[in-house]
């Protein structure tokens, strides 16, 4: 499996979580990929923290508006029934618990639900942007990440070593190896993506992982098998 394909496995799996009518904020990077895998049978409302409810797809070339962008600064559109608001209102919506899901990228995520993704001291200092508010406010926080760093070590950790974006806020981690629920200071493996096995995942992840009794084997070919529906996770 190649690198990009792995990201798509993650995006595709996350896309299955949402139900019609739910409000979802997708972070920059990997999380943005989630959008294209959302089933046409599901109609969610994408919000973007720069002040839009009902974010639509990127506009066709030549149809960009300088005044409609997503949180990455890219030209965007608004869907019918969407609306615009200022940044204080936007974060009122976010912090106030009115967003169902936030999907965020990861530098490190640990079994206590801590997430680090905004700073590598002295090196890369992008800043937290809206991520800290999103992890505090969203009903369910999903960390989306390739399981391994390019160096081969796991991004799922016992304890984050980088400055935290979120303190005990992550509910779910979806990697290219499986789906991990976070609870009581442990990862719970809820699904594994064959050909990987629970044994392989446990062996290659430096964290305490409990394999759930009802852990599901999902066979990944070019697309996630349709045989199973995501259970209600929270």
């Amino acid at each position: 499996m190649e690198y990009i394909a792995n990201k798509e496995i993650i995006a595709r799996r996350i896309a299955q979580i949402f139900k019609t009518g739910e409000v979802v904020n997708l972070g920059i990077g990997l999380p943005t990929l989630v959008e294209k895998y959302i089933s046409p049978e599901v109609n969610i409302i994408l919000m973007s923290e720069n002040g839009i409810m009902g974010l639509g797809p990127a506009p066709a070339k030549g149809f960009e508006s300088r005044d409609i962008t997503d949180s990455g600064g890219s030209a965007a559109t608004i869907r019918k029934g969407g609306c615009f608001f200022d940044s204080a209102t936007s974060f009122g919506i976010i912090r106030g618990g009115h967003v169902d899901y936030t999907v965020l990228g990861v530098l490190e995520v640990d079994q206590d639900g801590n997430l680090a993704n905004y700073k590598v001291p002295g090196k890369m200092v992008p800043g937290m942007g809206g991520a800290m508010d999103l992890t505090i406010g969203a009903r369910i926080v999903i960390a989306a990440t390739l399981h391994f760093q390019p160096t081969g070590s796991s991004r799922l950790k016992r304890h984050c070593t980088l400055p935290l974006t979120a303190h005990k806020e992550v509910n779910l981690v979806v990697t290219d190896l499986g789906v991990f629920e976070v609870q009581g200071g442990r990862f719970y493996l809820a699904e594994y993506f064959a050909p990987y096995t629970p044994e392989y995942i446990l062996e290659h992840t430096d964290a305490d992982i409990i394999v759930k009794n009802n852990c599901i084997k999902v066979v990944i070919n070019t697309q996630i098998t349709e045989e199973k529906q995501c259970q209600k996770l929270v």
Binding site: T20, G21, V23, P40, E41, V42, N43, I45, M47, M53, G54, I78, K80, G81, G82, C83, F84, F85, F91, G92, I93, I94, R95, G96, G97, H98, I136, G137
Partner: protein, 243 residues
């Protein structure tokens, strides 16, 4: 959240997610004995009068009211409007409000100890509701320092100035009034009838918006929407315009 999901005629594709439109009576039924209820409006202007009238008929009890005022009850002229109808019915256990000068019955019930009335500065009340909806743990306001409003509250010093720590307010139900909604629940208010309505829309578990007009999704300019559809659970078409 309750949705009316509109599927495409041709396939299973969801093409629209709308909000149920219910009667004022159905709306009133969703307010249960003992609930805390936010009610929009400022001396009747911008109050959900159809739902208020329906609620009066239900005679629901032990409610906690959060509202700018309790409308008008003039013991001399016998003029009784809006929320005052519910005060008269003694439907409230507690009233959190900024002004009851126009409702002599609320004052009477307060002085007689029949109803607990908490008087809150209007700006603090608005901000408490906003804080409730915006996930804040509270805010520091200079308003009320040196007055009875400060009693029992924490005073916090910032740069040698003293502020009251005021806590957020939330409610079980908010009944609000807008000029117009689209079918998905986006709201537009008119004039000073806006007042507390958009704030309350953010701060209650269940939000029911009484509106004068319901238009198709997409008919309202997204720059002009005051309250996003995500805050609204049910729409009620206003039946009652006079008060």
């Amino acid at each position: 959240m309750y949705f009316v999901i509109i599927h495409s005629q041709y396939d299973n594709k969801v093409i629209m997610v709308l909000k149920p439109i219910i009667s004022a009576s159905d709306a009133a039924d969703r307010i249960k004995d003992g609930n805390s209820v936010m009610v929009g409006g400022f001396l009747n202007c911008g109050s959900p009068h159809s739902i208020i009238l329906a609620l009066k008929e239900k005679n629901t009890k032990n409610l906690t009211l959060i509202s700018n005022d309790t409308a008008i009850y003039n013991l001399k002229t016998r003029v009784i409007t809006g929320l005052a109808l519910l005060v008269k019915n003694k439907m409230f256990r507690k009233i959190i409000t900024s002004h009851i000068g126009t409702n002599q019955e609320t004052q009477r019930q307060m002085n007689a100890g029949e109803t607990e009335v908490e008087l809150v500065p209007q700006g603090t009340l608005a901000e408490q509701i906003r804080a409730g909806g915006a996930g804040l743990g509270g805010f520091l306001t200079p308003t009320g320092i040196g007055t009875e409003v400060a009693n029992g509250k924490q005073i916090i010093f910032v740069n040698h100035h003293s502020f009251l720590l005021e806590l957020p307010l939330k409610a079980d139900v908010a009944i609000i009034k807008a000029r117009k909604a689209d079918k998905s629940g986006n709201l537009v208010f008119n004039g000073t009838a806006r007042n507390f309505n958009p704030l309350m829309a953010t701060a209650a578990e269940l939000v029911i918006a009484e509106v004068e007009e319901i238009v198709e999704v997409g008919e309202i300019d997204p720059n002009e929407i005051h309250t996003s559809s995500i805050f609204v659970d049910f729409l009620v078409k206003a039946e009652q315009f006079d008060y």
